[in-house]
């Protein structure tokens, strides 16, 4: 999924499924950008510190947010990260995190409005 497609899909999901207005959807995406960005940062820090518990917490949060954004493919990626974190494969965690960050780039930088 391209970064732009992820943002479009998330916005469409919020509009159609959650019945948010355009302004509310944009506002939700802004909140999501902040929250996802922070979670990705936490994940990076936790993985670098080999902190499995913190990795799981961060990945779990990401998964929930991505599900609520209507991005099940990316949520599945977050689940992979979570599984890797449980296994202690922190390099894989970082790799997965990078994939996720790329896919979410448009959403995270708030562009595409």
């Amino acid at each position: 999924m391209t970064p732009a497609a992820a943002r479009r899909q998330a916005r469409a999901f919020l509009r159609k499924r959650q019945m948010l207005s355009a302004a509310e959807a944009d506002q939700a995406l802004d909140v999501a950008a902040t929250v996802l960005g922070a979670a990705l940062d936490h994940l990076a820090v936790a993985a670098a510190a080999d902190d499995g518990r913190a990795c799981v917490e961060a990945a779990h949060g990401l998964k929930g947010n991505l599900l609520n954004l209507g991005l099940p493919e990316l949520a599945a990626l977050a689940q992979d990260i979570l599984d890797k974190a449980r296994e202690g494969s922190y390099q894989s965690v970082l790799t997965g995190r990078e994939k996720l960050a790329v896919s979410l780039a448009t959403l995270l930088d708030g562009s595409g409005n």
Binding site: R17, E24, A28, V35, N65, L67, N68, G70, A75
Partner: protein, 671 residues
């Protein structure tokens, strides 16, 4: 016809006879000659003959010497047989008056004044007058005049009969009657008036009506004319013994034959007992409804917990036999929930507490939602469920979406329940023969099935509460028999004339109703396509706590709850804070109606918060929020006392269902 005289044998006293006043034999003046006297005699004879009054002259000796035709007609005699006969031939003897006696009195000079009395001749009523004639103090004869008063007597008797009839009517009337004059003074009352007020005739007649009855609010004198022929009112009066009575009365002026008001009449009944009974019945009905509502709520709360837990358990692994038992338990619980909802709705309609809330409704979306809800049932029974919509109808119209959907779902549910094979159609169209003169666009909603049909004799009865087509139906399909009754009443509350039915035994039934719906005006925004319909239950009174540490999830839940109309929302960003808020609400109130609890939170997680809340005696439904609906999570949730399980992503429709099923009654009861 002439007034003839019997030939006289000559006067006994000619000089005296010449001085008789009014003598028919000539005038007193010498200026008149014999011819003139004869002419005068002839004229007077003609006048007497023409009189409508019977006249006879009786000589001092008592013989009838003159009589006119009218007199003969009245006594039924003939001249030849009467003239020269004694006064008895005139038949003027009554029990009280005997003419012969008066004649004797006049003759003896014992009486001089004329005498009158009544006598009946055949079918005629006659007033008899005996006028003695004296000449120089001597009795000179008796003029007998008979006046036919039959018409007057008839008129008097007619009035008396009418009066008697009215008196009878007034006497036996089941209402108190009071007739007053134009000064509002009591002229007549009847026995019922005495029975109700305690005032008898002696105490009431002549008194002012207003001061007698001390009416509150005071009413104008019934004699006061106004635009209405009869004024109807309800008021309170004070009886003679001091009791305060509520009366319902009619009052009207009384008029004479010229149309002038002569007085007034009022009739009233004592409705004190009726009013008291009605108040008691209404109070009993209110108590019954309150009891039903409370009981329904009290039963529904644990029932919802049972259903939630059954749902939760069904997600886990278990032997097939246990799963079947659990499914049966869940199905029975859901059936019970439907019955409770029916009873609650019915009791609300009965006491007029069911409020209709019109709003712009996307009709397409509403019927599609209804179809979608019923589609699994149709599929399960192998039936085709279709929508037929008139494309010319506007998409958005103003109606109460919750109640309209409730009616359609009820009709669809019935149709699917009773149809073994074929199809069920939900239709929306313009009626073929719309009723003119009613504002709004006529829209006919119908649900047609290919079921067994309904016998003619049942078609009206099935709209009565607690009635089903037959006992077999009740045994086979269950239910309260309230669904159609509720739907019928809801249609009326929405402005329709009620549910109608067309049915052919063996071929199917069509239930339909027509509503006159307005299109949204410029001030009312029509819902956007895709915008959420109003929830099936008003959630405005709900108090919801969301325990969620993730700001985005929290934000999203807030928006969804706002859109569902949840009135009061509180948020906790971690488990500890959530527990504190729950405990505080328990101690200080008001309690939360539902809690959405994220399972993973820093510090105390959702499981632990729920466990501690239950230990503290908090019974508020707690819905778990989790990113994955695993059996393990389900077990942990159940063990911690959580009520239901909600997996991400959150969808507004799913959240609505959860809220309605958990606390729908609580929400709507706060309306």
């Amino acid at each position: 016809m002439s007034f003839t005289r019997r030939p006289r044998r000559g006067p006994r006293n000619p000089s005296a006879a010449s001085r008789r006043p009014g003598r028919l034999q000539g005038g007193p003046s010498r200026a008149y000659g014999a011819a003139e006297a004869d002419g005068r005699l002839s004229r007077l004879s003609s006048i007497l003959a023409a009189l409508d009054q019977g006249i006879a002259f009786v000589s001092p000796e008592g013989a009838v010497v003159e009589i006119n035709d009218r007199c003969l007609a009245l006594i039924g005699g003939v001249r030849e047989a009467v003239l020269g006969q004694g006064i008895a031939v005139l038949d003027l003897e009554t029990e009280d008056y005997q003419a012969s006696v008066f004649l004797e009195l006049f003759r003896r000079g014992a009486a001089h004044a004329p005498v009158s009395f009544d006598r009946r001749f055949g079918d005629r009523d006659v007033t008899v007058k005996l006028q003695p004639v004296f000449d120089a103090g001597l009795f000179a004869g008796l003029i007998v005049s008979l006046i036919d008063v039959t018409p007057m007597v008839e008129a008097r008797l007619s009035v008396e009969r009418e009066k008697s009839f009215l008196e009878q009517v007034i006497t036996i009337a089941g209402a108190a009657i009071c007739i007053v004059n134009r000064d509002d003074e009591v002229l007549t009352i009847n026995d019922e008036f005495t029975a109700i007020t305690g005032y008898n005739r002696d105490q009431a007649l002549g008194r002012k009506r207003a001061s007698l009855l001390r009416e509150s609010p005071p009413s104008p004198c019934p004699a006061a004319p106004d635009g209405q022929a009869v004024r109807q009112s309800q008021s309170r009066i004070v009886a003679r013994d001091g009791r305060r009575l509520t009366i319902r009365k009619n009052a009207a002026p009384l008029r004479d034959d010229q149309g002038s008001v002569t007085g007034g009449i009022e009739s009233f009944t004592d409705v004190s007992d009726l009013i008291r009974a009605r108040v008691q019945a209404e109070e009993a009905s209110r108590m019954k409804s309150a009891f039903l509502a409370n009981m329904s709520h009290e039963i529904r709360t644990p029932l919802n917990a049972i259903l939630g837990l059954a749902h939760l358990l069904l997600k886990g692994d278990m032997p097939e036999s246990q799963r079947e038992s659990l499914e049966t338990m869940r199905a029975a619980g859901e059936g019970l929930l439907v019955i409770l909802n029916d009873i609650l709705d019915f009791s609300r309609i009965e006491v007029g507490r069911l409020e209709i809330r019109p709003a712009p409704v996307d009709i397409d979306r509403l019927v599609e939602d209804a179809r979608r809800v019923m589609a699994p049932q149709a599929e399960e029974r192998g039936l085709l469920l279709t929508i037929e919509r008139d494309p010319d109808l506007p998409r958005v119209l103003v109606c109460d979406p919750v109640r309209l959907k409730q009616i359609l779902l009820n009709l669809l549910s019935n149709a699917l329940k009773f149809t073994e094979r074929g199809r069920v159609t939900l239709g929306v169209a313009r009626p073929r023969a719309p009723v003119s003169g009613i504002a709004g666009l006529p829209v006919r909603f119908l649900v047609a099935d290919t079921g067994p049909g309904i016998p003619e004799d049942m078609r009206q009865r099935i709209f009565e509460p607690f009635v089903q087509a037959d006992d077999d139906v009740a045994r086979e399909h269950g239910g309260t028999g309230l669904g159609l009754s509720i739907s019928d009443r809801l249609v009326r509350l929405l402005g329709g004339t009620g549910l109608e039915i067309a049915s052919q035994p063996g071929k199917g039934s069509t239930f339909f109703f027509t509503l006159h719906l307005a299109e949204p005006d410029g001030k009312t925004a029509a819902p956007r396509p895709g915008a959420p319909l109003a929830p099936a239950v008003d959630l405005g009174g709900l108090r919801v706590l969301v325990a969620e540490d993730n700001p985005f999830n929290r934000f999203l839940l807030q928006k969804i709850l706002e859109k569902l109309g949840v009135g009061r929302q509180s948020f906790a960003a971690d488990g500890q804070k959530a527990l504190e808020m729950l405990l505080a609400s328990k101690e200080e109130g008001p309690p939360y109606d539902v809690v959405f609890m994220d399972l993973r939170m820093p510090g105390l997680d959702g499981i632990e918060v729920s466990r501690r809340a239950r230990q503290a005696g908090i019974e508020t439904p707690i819905v778990a929020l989790t990113a994955q609906a695993s059996a393990e999570d389900a077990d942990r949730c159940r063990e911690a006392g959580m009520t239901a399980f909600f997996a991400k992503p959150y969808r507004i429709s799913d959240l609505e269902k959860v809220l309605v099923s958990l606390v729908g009654d609580a929400g709507s009861s706060r309306i």
